[in-house]
Subunit: 281 residues, 4 copies
């Protein structure tokens, strides 16, 4: 079945001579037009390429030819995605600033994603979500073990089968078991300039250390809450007059913008994961 | 005569299908290894590509094959540069901050260029230049018409045949006749965030307008002093407590860093010029 | 009638010896506690002071004593404001990003202001506003002269008697007659780093000039749309790959944050206006 | 003996009502003119004030009156400094970028300090220092215990009796015994955005963590090399294409500017130290 829209080809694997030549040759012979092409070779010799192209083709045939065209295709991975919106679920606790940002963007079709539902361990953000006509699932952790709580969340998520989970200030640590359900598919916003101030109360820590700049970090969640490949970071100046609360207020503006910018990169298939690093092409 | 080091291939022209494929194919058949490859297609359909590669080859043969390999080579330009330091002359007036920055970098081999000489219409910076053992040419404009002054400068420059002229706070306007001697080869640092505050005394203008951010702009000089493609810009926050003099002091830090960063881009053959825009690959 | 909460004393006038001493003396004798005190003396010798204090006092008596305590009070102005939320009306055209930001902040009591109503010359943002239960007034300019349109807006505003008008991407030029109704009480967000790119389509202008940084400016409106004292500015990096549309998208994030930050300063009585400059204490 | 130039009064202690009033009253009665006055009260109730003033007075008498004028002077400290350049010694290891910056600024009288000497545990920077006619002391650590080495440095420093030591990329840890000789008088530049990447090779650590922003921190040295009150910080964007070496190159620009800006604050008596925080007025 031929596709007619824009597509994105993601390729990565061990670097060798002629990779760009061979891959662009396949597209050329299929009469496909490259709109953007970006490559990166890591210092350890791993090759990454993102090719955005347009034209009509048959997916399976194209992938087969890509795999067979390389003199040495061992370890090379190809992924071929239509350029389209992703399906996501947003998880929150009590803070509204990141969620509000995502809802406004979604309402005006600026998110490159459809928000299928919002899941929270508190119900305080239900009124905000309901303004936008999106399902809100209140899954309290009260009286449940961590495992029971995560099971309940997973049952809710199973309804929606999201491609990505966005932790928009979800303030509970997720277990590795939970995270393993969504490998490289959970994006978190952390309220510090990681790796500074890992853990709880980063603005309190920042105040006590007397820093002159605060920041926020959007990253994939793999093992624990503050690790995982960093997608985007940004910062804002503060001074000694800022209390920890002032820093938190100012930091929220950074958090929501950084999260939105990271999601834009992820949802447009620009982010490769390589060990603990994110390659953004 | 074969070359043995790293090289940079610059290509630009009308976009068409297969450009990347055909060019990388030539390099592949010559057994040359691509280290970095960056392309850009402008909204108007102009294709730019910078390919950094290594290996041994014969320049003329490679260029001939590149030109003949394209189905439609009309309007396509290839340039093939060895990766090496550029020869430059720096022009200054009285301010030392940009010149000092360049001299320190040059003294420690961080400039990607050799400073052949410094030319100035005043002699106040001669002591600084002499510390670094570089020829200093004092070419006063006193008692000379603009044309006579520029003629005198051109005679001095003819000794050195620089590839680039760097205007490191050279505060006189150059005539089109002078500029035409160095097409796309003069880099200027302007002490404002262009196009804000074109012309004289930009910090005074910035103070009077009450701006909250000041900046600096490194750009090619083509027609007049404050126009030409922008290579790099940066900014710094100010507030109402900054006098025009304070802004100038703070701005100098931005100016010298922006100029250095722009020169790094230019000297590594990363900058294409397209009309009044600089494409930095 | 005694007040019991926090207050802000704003003072400005010609500088002379002892101003701080005399004013803080009055507060000391009234047993009022200074929380923050900020002063600024301009290069031309104008003194500005903002004193935030707490305690119980009688306003008229305090102001009388302040005026009589200075050896030379000529030209000195005192303003005494309780620390409280301002009443505002927001004016918009079709773009939602700044309005959405203000609505979310207002919904969670983070705006330091009450949004009494939203007025627009189009009705496209009515659905967004209605989510938040705020009156929306659609005052079309179709079939009306500029004066008739502004008259209609003024009639609507008369219902609410706002202390401040916020132009959150209101894209029509206001006449001096209109502006004179709200001296120093209209805040506009301009989608460029003023004074660069005054006028229409600043992102198109920025693209064509090939700038490497774009910005936004929040300012008071006095005479025409792009002049007036600048309250806050911020910027974001771009490169040649950004089309004018990409710059606009990226710029919107800057615009909404800059507008919010400027409003926070204005609504907390931190901004003095001095000619065409804003003094932010 | 009366002084005739500008002076700076630094005051700090427990907050109480009337502090500004009483202190400015003393200056008023002495007919001294306040140029700038800045205060800050910490959340824990500690009051800081920096008063820059001009006029003629007798120092001892002024300090006596200041101490006696307060209803409760217990715990209040006054310091009265003439506004003048500081005497400093710069310590370096092998990297030139911060030292070069300081030397150029010093050569053009922009440092607010006199560099009495440069001390290094290597001799590689001697040629640079000698260009500027400043004594260079090579005090090798080879074949010496840490204590012996520090003793040798202290003997050298004793010649100059500097008011401040500037560690401009001095790469050895100083012992508490050494540091105790210069309480709150040692300024260090650390090549990371502290507290991220404490310790050795921060750019290597930053690369491996895949951060998108790097930074530098200027701080007082109290106990160990990477702690102590932070005076200034700044950052620069990086991406996955930056190797650890690229990050170091880019970071050096930030380091030297941050160090210079921090020194400007310290040398103009703007920095109070409060526990582990720097209050910059």
């Amino acid at each position: 079945m031929p596709d007619a829209t824009k597509h994105i080809l993601l390729m990565d694997g061990p670097d060798s001579k002629g990779l760009i030549y061979h891959v662009t040759g396949v597209l050329y012979r299929h009469n496909l037009n490259i709109i953007h092409n970006d490559e990166y070779v890591s210092p350890s010799g791993h090759f990454f390429m993102r090719t955005e192209f347009e034209g009509t083709f048959e997916s399976d045939a194209l992938l087969t030819e890509l795999n067979s065209t390389l003199p040495n295709a061992e370890g090379i991975t190809f992924r071929l995605n239509p350029k389209r919106k992703k399906n996501i679920v947003v998880m929150v606790t009590k803070e509204h600033h990141c969620l509000g940002e995502l809802l406004i963007r979604y309402a005006f079709d600026e998110l490159d994603a459809d928000i299928l539902a919002v899941v929270s361990n508190y119900n305080v953000l239900q009124p905000l979500v309901s303004k936008f006509g999106i399902p809100f699932h209140y899954v309290s952790h009260e009286g449940r073990s961590r495992e029971e709580h995560e099971e309940a969340i997973l049952r809710t998520l199973a309804i929606y089968e999201p491609e990505y989970l966005v932790l928009a200030k979800y303030m509970r640590v997720l277990t590795p078991d939970f995270v393993n359900n969504f490998p490289n598919r959970i994006v978190n916003i952390h309220h510090s300039f990681l790796p500074a101030f890992v853990g709880a109360n980063p603005y309190r820590q920042a105040y006590e250390r007397g820093v002159k700049i605060i920041g926020a970090t959007a990253h994939f969640v793999n093992n624990d809450l503050d690790e995982g490949p960093i997608i985007a970071q940004n910062v804002q100046e503060v001074d000694h007059r800022h209390t920890a609360a002032d820093m938190a207020t100012k930091g929220k503006d950074v958090e929501k913008i950084v999260l939105s910018q990271a999601l834009k990169l992820v949802f447009s298939d620009r982010v490769f994961i390589s060990g603990n690093r994110a390659i953004v092409l």
